[in-house]
């Protein structure tokens, strides 16, 4: 996919265009609409955040990035 990833909540383009950057943006913003979207995907925003803080590695970001990646196919132009 060469198209830069767009945030499924606010439409903002991720900095380098990667899904991981979009995940970073979601965690960084952390406001009600973004949290609600994450919850709606069947994930717990707060548990992802806490896992990131307490375990080595980047698993939470990777998990969210994968889900964001899937939405890009469905996003309107």
């Amino acid at each position: 996919m060469s198209e830069p990833v767009k945030c499924p909540v606010c439409g903002k383009k991720a900095k380098t265009g990667s899904a991981i950057d979009c995940a970073r943006h979601m965690f960084g913003t952390g406001d009600k609409p973004h949290r609600a979207w994450v919850e709606a995907q069947g994930l717990s925003f707060i548990d992802l955040l806490l896992e990131q803080a307490t375990t080595p590695g980047n698993r939470s970001y990777v998990v969210l990035a994968e889900i964001i990646e899937k939405t890009q196919e469905r996003l309107p132009e």
Partner: protein, 761 residues
């Protein structure tokens, strides 16, 4: 290093006479006619709802003039991060509930301090005590009590910094180490405790004397919480008895005195006792760090990952900035192929934590510089050469974060290596510990949401050639009045005695963000240089007009001498030129204006200082007691401006940083500080300070005035780690927690011996 007329020469501090003769009036000393004395009633509970406050009996006490509670305020939740409303979470006089032991609940104004104190005992507060949490890892549990509405699991702020392919970089590493660390809090412990005198008058104007690092911030914040226009408020802060990062937010003294004064229309003075200063003014942020670092066997740094929890205490304060800076400076001063930092600031029912000299970097270096030393030891490498291999250099870009325009860290390594070699073999139980560091020269982020330039200055030249320099920059002892006068004198071409500095009064001085984040030499310095050059240009226009020189000749003013650069011996006195210029302007004084705001300077700062410190430490194996014997610091602050000021700031930084390393514990039990006095809270005394020689490294910072960058805060960063590293080299034990207590060393030694015994059996 370039030679200047005034810059980096031996200049007396311009406030010297006032300070050495007892004439300097601090807020602590201010007395106004009709002034009342205020005292604050504080919460004994770490977490409780305020059900009712009955102060009828207090009002009946003869000499009591008035009492205020949260109900007398607008209930505004304020905070210094004005741009982010949800981080503005502190009412100071809370309306609904208290969140830490010592939080103000009511304030009394009376004829004397003694009566005000007695009145506190007559105020009856009904609390509904709530469960409390004191540690971040407890506060994030599902069953933990909610401290602020809307902050799930008490997570106040999160920050994430990442660059490169971190996982890939770890895969490349040939040696990986992970360690857990704990960093304590620290009290600013300014010699002048928090103090304010507020005077509200029937014309709707409020005048406040405040021991402050930023009168401009105080004016803006007060306007927000009191519902007044900024122009109706005047904040005066002439002499300040220390700040160190604790005095640029609204505190209980300024807020309660202002609320009392507005209610009673009388001046009200509130001065914190030393105990109040310990228990009720925000402290350095305690942190717990997990660090995983991957390097190659030859010492090349590959990847680093840090997960950090900071104990935010009850309110945000400046904690959001500390959270970012600790993660950023944890990478300093090295290049990482992959770097990741996840920082979480968590609310707890303890004293709020905020900025303190170093701003999260002393904690970052405690972890980073020790782990780096342990890695070098594990791999059998020279730790200085390992650092050198990976260090920043001029022109380096910290990916997405910062451009390093000037960097003298390599020369720092040379100087320290030479010093260690000359020291030779040390006596038993003594070792040298090292730590490198770097720091910012002011921040680029406008979280205060100021509409004004970050720094401004006005230069006004009088008929006799003397200069009125108006700046918003605040002198809190670091010597900014002197530093800015030096820059003004150099830029204009006059002598230091010609400059009169006006600062510390929002009615007369331009806006300036104030003294924090090591910003004033660079930012206010640039504004002053611009203003002086503006004034000089106006003078030189007159000089050119009457010079008759061919157009190729340039004129300048130096040491009060107007001359052509090519013919310096043919000139005339600057005062003559001033007289002509003022006549030419119909009798108007020459006024030059200057200002500075960093634009497009990365995510953190326009410039960075660098340093490497070596500390020689002697340790008593039996008691665990530490003695600092000697030290050497190689320091790059670009062009030094104020020579006496610089030495003083670097030596002072050492004493505060060493205190963080092994003296200044702040033990809490169930949210209560156990040593809120100067008998039990230990600070460096004259008998404990070693010599702190500084080797200045010659670099030039293009963004700074005359090439200058910060000095005095960066040097608070390395010393704790250097002391830890000395202990490591002397005794072979690794200190994970700071401040280091003697028993920690003894226990570590015992553990080591036990392990070695086990190994032998």
């Amino acid at each position: 290093m370039k030679k200047y007329s005034v810059i980096n020469t031996h200049v007396h501090n311009v406030d010297g006479i006032a300070k050495v003769t007892g004439r300097a009036i601090y807020t602590f000393d201010v007395k106004l006619p009709g002034m009342l004395y205020g005292k604050i009633l504080r919460s004994p509970h770490p977490h409780a709802k305020i059900l009712d406050i009955d102060y009828g009996k207090a009002l009946d006490l003869p000499g009591v003039i008035g009492v205020v509670t949260g109900k007398d305020t607008l209930g505004v939740k304020q905070g210094i991060w004005r741009r982010y409303q949800d981080l503005c979470d502190e009412q100071i006089l809370p309306v609904d509930k208290v969140r830490y032991i010592g939080e103000p609940v009511a304030a009394v104004a009376a004829m004397t301090e003694e009566i005000a104190e007695q009145a506190l005992d007559l105020i009856d507060v009904q609390y509904e005590v709530l469960p409390a949490v004191y540690e971040p890892l407890d506060a994030i549990k599902k069953e933990a009590p909610e401290i602020h509405e809307g902050f799930e699991r008490n997570i106040n702020v999160t920050r994430h910094i990442e660059w490169g392919d971190v996982e890939g970089a770890f895969d490349e590493a040939e040696y990986i180490r992970e360690d857990w660390f704990k960093c304590g809090g620290q009290a600013h412990m300014c010699m002048e405790t928090r103090a304010a005198v507020s005077s509200y008058t029937p014309d709707g104007k409020l005048t406040v004397y405040h021991s402050s690092q930023s009168p401009y911030y105080m004016r803006g914040l007060l306007a927000g919480v009191l519902g007044l226009k900024e122009s109706s408020i005047r904040v005066i802060s002439h002499y300040v008895g220390g700040g160190f990062g604790g005095k640029f937010e609204l505190d209980g003294a300024i807020f309660c005195s202002a609320v009392l004064s507005m209610k009673l229309c009388r001046p009200v003075k509130i001065v914190f006792t030393r105990e109040e200063d310990f228990i009720a003014t925000k402290r350095r942020t305690p942190m717990s760090y997990y660090v995983r670092t991957g390097v190659k066997k030859d010492g090349t740094f590959c990847a680093r990952e840090a997960k950090v929890f900071t104990n935010g205490g009850a309110y945000t304060g400046m904690g959001a900035t500390a959270l970012y800076l600790t993660g950023f400076f944890h990478s300093f001063p090295y290049r990482w192929k992959g770097y990741r930092y996840d920082g979480y600031r968590v609310y707890t029912n303890t004293l709020p934590s905020t900025s303190m000299r170093g701003f999260g970097a002393p904690q970052a270096m405690w972890c980073s510089e020790q782990q780096i030393e342990w890695i070098a030891a594990d791999l059998g490498l020279d730790s200085i050469e390992m650092r050198r291999k990976n260090a920043h250099y001029s022109g380096y870009e910290v990916p997405d974060q910062a451009s390093i325009a000037s960097c003298g860290i390599d020369q720092c390594f040379d100087v320290v290596q030479k010093w260690i070699k000359e020291k030779g073999k040390l006596p038993e139980n003594r070792a040298i510990g090292l730590s490198a560091a770097g720091f910012m020269s002011g921040g680029i982020f406008n979280w205060f949401d100021s509409p004004y330039s970050f720094s401004s200055a006005v230069v006004t030249i009088n008929y006799d050639g003397t200069v009125e320099l108006h700046v918003g920059a605040q002198d809190i002892g670091q010597g900014s009045n002197t530093t800015l006068a030096i820059i003004c004198a150099e830029a204009l071409g006059v002598k230091i005695e010609d400059i009169k500095v006006h600062s510390g009064d929002t009615d007369h001085c331009p806006a300036d963000l104030g003294a924090w984040g090591s910003r004033q030499t660079l930012m206010a310095g640039n504004a002053v240089k611009m203003a002086a050059e503006d004034a000089k240009k106006q003078l030189l226009e007159v000089a050119y007009a009457q010079s008759g020189f061919n157009i190729v000749y340039d004129l300048d003013i130096k040491n009060r001498w107007v001359h052509a650069l090519a013919r310096p011996e043919r000139g005339y006195d600057y005062a003559e030129l001033v007289k002509k210029a003022i006549r030419g302007k119909d009798g108007q004084r020459i006024v030059g204006r200057g200002y500075y705001t960093p634009h497009r300077k990365g995510m953190i700062s326009p410039a960075y200082s660098y340093m490497m410190q070596a500390v020689e430490v002697e340790i008593d194996k039996d008691t665990g007691k530490i003695k600092l014997i000697d030290s050497l610091t190689a320091h790059d602050c670009g062009q030094p401006i104020n020579h006496l000021g610089l030495i003083g700031q670097l030596e002072g930084a050492f004493s505060m940083a060493a205190g963080y390393g092994y003296l200044e514990y702040m033990p809490y039990e169930d949210g209560k500080l156990m040593n809120p006095n100067l008998v039990d809270y230990k600070v460096m005394r004259a008998t404990e300070m070693p010599e702190v020689p500084v080797a200045e490294i010659d670099t030039y910072e293009p963004e700074g005035p005359y090439g200058a960058k910060e000095a005095g805060e960066g040097l608070t960063n390395p010393t704790a780690a250097a002391i830890g590293n000395a202990i490591f080299h002397a005794l072979g034990v690794q200190m994970k927690e700071c401040p280091i207590k003697p028993e920690m060393i003894v226990n570590a030694l015992n553990e080591k011996e036990a392990k070695e015994k086990e190994g032998k059996e």
